[in-house]
Structures are given as structure tokens and as C-alpha cells.
Symmetry: C2
């Protein structure tokens, strides 16, 4: 059939630009400070290999079948118990396992947001989340962060003004209160309290993305927003940072009504039945607290090495907040610096980072860059930051010539 087809108009909901992907550089000695990946040598490979074989042998028929059930009870119970450590009390029917928190974000968005509805986010924010909001045809408004997390005072002003002027209140506010990606900051307890008061007063949902909460470098504890207002906070977490992202398993904790709505989206029976059976087998005899302590100790060390290297090679040329946990250091350069203008040069020198602009809903953030200290070795961090500085100072030199 030879066809001269007219172009087809796809759904408006499809964003025209991709969410940022991973750097495509594949040279073996390339240093990926861009990858927000877990340290692969800390994956519990041996235990998981044994669990995988056992799970298939013992529960193979169940692991391979459809299941209308919410997944192995063991995992739900594990989530329930571990959540208690963070102050979260939830019934089993308030927990839903998802394909990573990426799916959690998407599902929450789809149940709350109609085209044209308003979603408020932090600037910077997590790019996959921004992609979900675009796909839901939401109107996105951003609020800046500082050292204490998102500027709740500005959110409050905006709510007051919106109400006064008859403009829309958001359906959803998306936030990463603890160890923000990419900002590295943590929302203060004062601001947490105020934020949930606003959610109550103005009746919107908070989508709390808590992906990094187990990677705590200081021992400081911050109450999840969920604990302060379970009725209007949808809490998201993931096995990606604590076991391995390849599992693609995360979870949502929310009001029963929310969980029911999410289930009404067509989920094709259970999520990742086979992987869940294997994970259930793993966590059954796994010294999780030790594992998480080891991860936190390792990542803290990496953070310190990176911070030290940054001070040594960049001096006064960057500022950053030393994160209390998580994977990232968020670099702020002078306002006239545009990190998008030297990201390629840095790559050609053998180091990658993520340009600041990728984390913003609007065209801004050019004088920021995200570095990730989790995936690479200490030696690579030191060498990578040095290469980055070479690239930066060469850019600055060219700029100075250009503007003189």
C-alpha cells in the first residue's frame, strides 16, 4: 500500500520536549557527575541473587501469575513498619506499590489534575515530575528555594492574592522537602508546619516526594509532611535509592480515598508481581538498618570529598549548600555564567554535569549546575571536579575576552 498520509495530530497532552535523559557519552573513562544513580557496588547482589532463585522456585506460580491483590503482604508490611520509623502511621490499604516513584508522581497527577488546572512546584524541581505535569496539561507555577527549602512565605502570598483576585488555587503542590533534588536543601520544621496549614486553609493536595529520606548524613530528623496532614498529603517513596532503581518499585501512602482513585486508573492487576516476590524474599532476611547506615556513611564521605574538591578548585566562584543527605550538590555561579554554554566543553574534557535550566519549568536557572556524588568513585570525584574547573575557567576566560 503506497500511502500519501496527511500528518496526524497527536494528543495535545504530549510534551514536545523530552525529559532530560542521561548523558550519552560512552567513553569508559568519562566521569558522569550528571548521573543521579546509586553506587552499584553497594547493591545487595548476592542476597538478591539467592532471593531471586528462591522466590521463583518457592513462589514461582504466584510470581508469574496475574494478581488482583495489592502485592505480597510482606512488602506492604515492611513499608508499614519502616514508615513508622519516620513517624508515618498508615493502614495497609493506604499503601500502594508503584513502578518507582516516577509512576507515583504520574498517577497522583492524573487523578488530581484536569487540563488547565494549576500545579505549583519548586524552582528548581525534579524534571520527570515536570514532565508528568506537562503531560497532564497543567499550568505550572514555580516558587524558589533557599537554604531552608521552598519559600513558603511566597507560596502564602500567592495564595492570598489568588483568592483575593479570584484566580485559581493549585490542585497540587509538588515538593521534595528532604534532601531536595537538585537543590540539596531540606525544608525547615517551621516551614513544614506552615505549608500544611496552607494546604488545609486553601484545600489543595501536597505531593511529597521523599525519595532520599533514608540517606541521612547528620541524624537530624524532619517530620514528613504526611505526618502533619495525612488528609491532603500524598506521600511518595521508592526502593530505588535504598536497594536499586532497576527494580522499578516504589510506593504511595495516602488517604484511602486517594488510593481508591489511583486504583481506578487502569493498572493491569498488580504492579511488578515477579519483582515484588523477589523483593519480598530479600527483605525477609535483610539487615536493612545496617545496609542503610552503610549507604549513608558512604554517600556522606563522597559528599565531603566533592565539597572539598569544589572549594579547592572553584574557590569563590561557586556557592552551594552542603546537603544533609541525598545525592546532589547544586552549584550556583555568578549570574552572568551560563552553564549550558560550557556543558559540551566539559563533556569533551571527560566530565558531565546537568545544566541548571533542566530543572526549571520556565527558561531560567542558567547559572546553576547539578553534580551528583553518589555514582562515581572518590578518585573520580576529585578528577571530575578538577576537569570541571578547567572547563569553567576556560569559559570564563573566553567570556572576559568577548566582553572586553
Amino acid at each position: 500500500m503506497t500511502s500519501r498520509l496527511e500528518p496526524f495530530s497527536f494528543a495535545r497532552r504530549i510534551p514536545s520536549t523530552p525529559s532530560i535523559g542521561s548523558s550519552t557519552v560512552t567513553k569508559p573513562d568519562h566521569i558522569h557527575l550528571s548521573f543521579g544513580f546509586a553506587a552499584p557496588h553497594l547493591f545487595p547482589i548476592e542476597q538478591l541473587s539467592a532471593s531471586a532463585a528462591d522466590a521463583v522456585t518457592q513462589h514461582g506460580r504466584k510470581a508469574l501469575q496475574y494478581s488482583g491483590a495489592p502485592g505480597p503482604g510482606k512488602i506492604l508490611q515492611w513499608i508499614q513498619e519502616r514508615s513508622l520509623v519516620h513517624g508515618i502511621r498508615a493502614d495497609l490499604n493506604q499503601i500502594l506499590v508503584t513502578y518507582g516513584s516516577t509512576q507515583g508522581i504520574d498517577l497522583a497527577t492524573r487523578i488530581l489534575v484536569d487540563p488547565g488546572d494549576h500545579v505549583w512546584v519548586e524552582s528548581p524541581s525534579f524534571f520527570s515530575a515536570l514532565q508528568s505535569f506537562r503531560a497532564a496539561e497543567a499550568v505550572v507555577t514555580s516558587f524558589p528555594i533557599d537554604e531552608d527549602g521552598v519559600r513558603v512565605d511566597l507560596i502564602e502570598n500567592a495564595l492570598v492574592e489568588a483568592k483575593r483576585d479570584g484566580r485559581p488555587i493549585p490542585k497540587l503542590l509538588y515538593t521534595m522537602p528532604t534532601y531536595h533534588n537538585p537543590g540539596g536543601v531540606t525544608l525547615s520544621i517551621e516551614r513544614r508546619k506552615r505549608l500544611v496549614q496552607l494546604a488545609e486553609a486553601y484545600n489543595f493536595f501536597i505531593l511529597e516526594d521523599d525519595a532520599y529520606s533514608e540517606l541521612n548524613f547528620t541524624g537530624n530528623q524532619y517530620p514528613p509532611l504526611y505526618t502533619l496532614f495525612p488528609e491532603r498529603v500524598i506521600y511518595l517513596n521508592t526502593f530505588s535509592k535504598i536497594i536499586g532503581p532497576g527494580l522499578r518499585l516504589g510506593w504511595v501512602i495516602a488517604d484511602q480515598q486517594v488510593i481508591q482513585k489511583v486504583r481506578l486508573l487502569n493498572l493491569g492487576g498488580s504492579i511488578g508481581v515477579f519483582t515484588q516476590e523477589i523483593l519480598a524474599q530479600l527483605i525477609d532476611n535483610f539487615a536493612f538498618q545496617n545496609h542503610v547506615d552503610a549507604l549513608s556513611a558512604h554517600y556522606r564521605k563522597q559528599r565531603d570529598v566533592m565539597a572539598e574538591a569544589l572549594r579547592e578548585h572553584f574557590g569563590e566562584h561557586v556557592s552551594f549548600h552542603l546537603p544533609e543527605g541525598g545525592f546532589y550538590i547544586w552549584l550556583r555561579f555568578a549570574d552572568h555564567v551560563n552553564t549550558s554554554e560550557w556543558v559540551q566543553d566539559a563533556a569533551s574534557r571527560g566530565v558531565s554535569f546537568v545544566e541548571g535550566k533542566s530543572f526549571f519549568a520556565d527558561p531560567e536557572g542558567y547559572h546553576y549546575a547539578r553534580l551528583c556524588f553518589s555514582y562515581v568513585s572518590e578518585e573520580q570525584i576529585v578528577r571530575g571536579v578538577k576537569l570541571l574547573a578547567d572547563s569553567y575557567f576556560s569559559y570564563i576566560g573566553r567570556e572576559a575576552v568577548r566582553s572586553s
Copy 2:
């Protein structure tokens, strides 16, 4: 915080009724003729257990990491080669692995359909697909099937009339041309050709759900619609019926432009990385053709046992098409019979089936019922059909008394 919250208005896109779930009867001797499940004793458990352990040991770091890549090359290559057996030629970048074809349906719908757009389906149709169309706020119109599949002549008339009257052409037509669920029928070659001509002439997409194509009882071959018109057919298939649904892995084959749009939806890196590595390990040394031949032989036998039992116990009271493949026999009763009125009675006697109405977008189909011969044993089929007949004749008896 004690809150007196106003009710929250969730997104309009959320359907108010759940997709049908599995029967919740849990008595061990209950006969589930409702479950559209694979026969668990035919799962390749031993091979999979070994593959799972090997995959984690050998490729654990990869299996557990994020991946920007489209998944293990081995799986894509396997899909590519196996598709050739069915006449489908596709480049690797035209293949996308999904969380089962359930996700494939949802993703295809989301890239094509805006709220208010039209989707045409068969009546009966697959309930999860109907759920995706509702969640996309599509306007759904149904076209009946007969022994040769969907009535393409009626689709043609509707297109002609829509064009003449300036009414909307569908964005998408969803069909299960081969071994229809629940209808058990297969679209004739003539109708296949005509249907793709219509898609070309009226410029809409066909979503071809080919979930059962490997379970071929007769050796008859039908060209997938995709082979007749690759530009406007989105082809879906799944490992659920050939390996096991618990894997939650399926695939889409489509024009590169379509695949790119689907990737723009936020997919959180690769799909089921860990499971894909295990599956890649399995298919590497797996006598797939033998496996599929064994499945087909087994299911054909089951079909014959069920058909025989139906003729014996129901005689002239039901008619059905003997399926050339797949899992289902679709029973048609006299018009005044309402299967929803005795499904509970049947359950109380120890047998479940799916009421006809579950497969229709509009309130209709009450005189149909779906039986599945794949999950249960021969002995259960015989006993189940007998119990079903008891329930039916007791219902008919009550009806006769009521209307006399």
C-alpha cells in the same frame, strides 16, 4: 490538626467505576471459569529460577541500575525475530518494551487521544482497554462482532456518514483481530484488508491487540494488521500468555514517530530493568517454539473439553463460536436471559464466569457470558460447566414461573 475539609474535586478523567477485577471467591474448591489466566503448571519455573539467579549474579549491577537504554538488546532482538515469524518486519527502534500490553494500550491512548476525541471499539471489547479510553475522556463508540470478527462494513458506513455529516472521525480504533477476548473470533483476511484501507482513507490509527496470537490451535495464519499498514497500526503484544503475566512485560511495535511520542511520556528510564535482565537470560537458551507448541496443544485440548461439556449440558440453550486460539469461549444465550441475574447463584454453587455486560462500553450484552478454559483443569472444566448448567436451568425455571 483537626480539619473540616471541603470535598476535593478529583480529575474528571478518573472513571467512576472500577475495571472488573477477578472473582473474590476464595474457597479452595471453587472453579474459576472467570479467570483469564495462564495455566500455572506450564510456566517455565525451573528455567526461570536458574535465569533469575544467573542474571543477578552476572548482570546484577546493570539489572539494578537505572537505564536510559531501551532495555537489554537480547529482548528487543528476540521480539524482532519472533515478529518475523508472523510477517512483521520492524527495526529495533520501532520496538518498545512496556509493563504488559495493559500499559501499551494506556500509552497509545494517551499519545493519541485528547478529551472529547473519539475512539471506536468492538462490542464486546477488553475491559481494561475500555478503562484506558475512559481515563483519557474519549467518546467511545462500539461496533458488533460476528463469526468473522468485527463488522467492518458497519465501521465503513459510520465513517461515510460521519464524513458526510461533518461528525468526528475516530482518532483510534481498538481491535483484537486474532482470537478475540472475549469473543473467541478471528477477523477474516478480507475484512483485515478493508479495515486498513479505511484507516488510510480516513487517517485514523488502529490499535491492534495481538495478545493471544501465539496460542494457535489450527495452524491457520492471519496477517497482523500491522503488516498491512505499518504507518497507522500500533501493534501490541505481551509475554503474559507465553511466559507468565507476573513478569508484567509486553511490547509495542509502531512507526518510529509513534514510539518517539510514547517515550516523551514520562517513563522513568527503562521499564522493568531487573525483570528484563532475567527474561533476557531465559530466552537465551529457551526452546520457545517447543514451549509455545506445548501451550497451544494444551489449550486446544482444554477448549475441546469445554466445548463438549457445553454441548452436553446446555444443548440448544447456548451458541458459541469455537475459537481457533486463545483462552475464551463466549456464550450467547436467548435474548431474554440476563447472566448478571444468576452469576451470584453460580458462585454460590462453586463456579464463576464473567457476566457479558462487563465487556461493553454501553449497558448491553446481558445475554452473554465469558468462560475461560486456560486456567482450570480438564476435570474442573467438566465439573464447572455442569454446575453452571444447574445454575442456569434453575434461573430459567424461576423466570418461567415469574412470567407465567
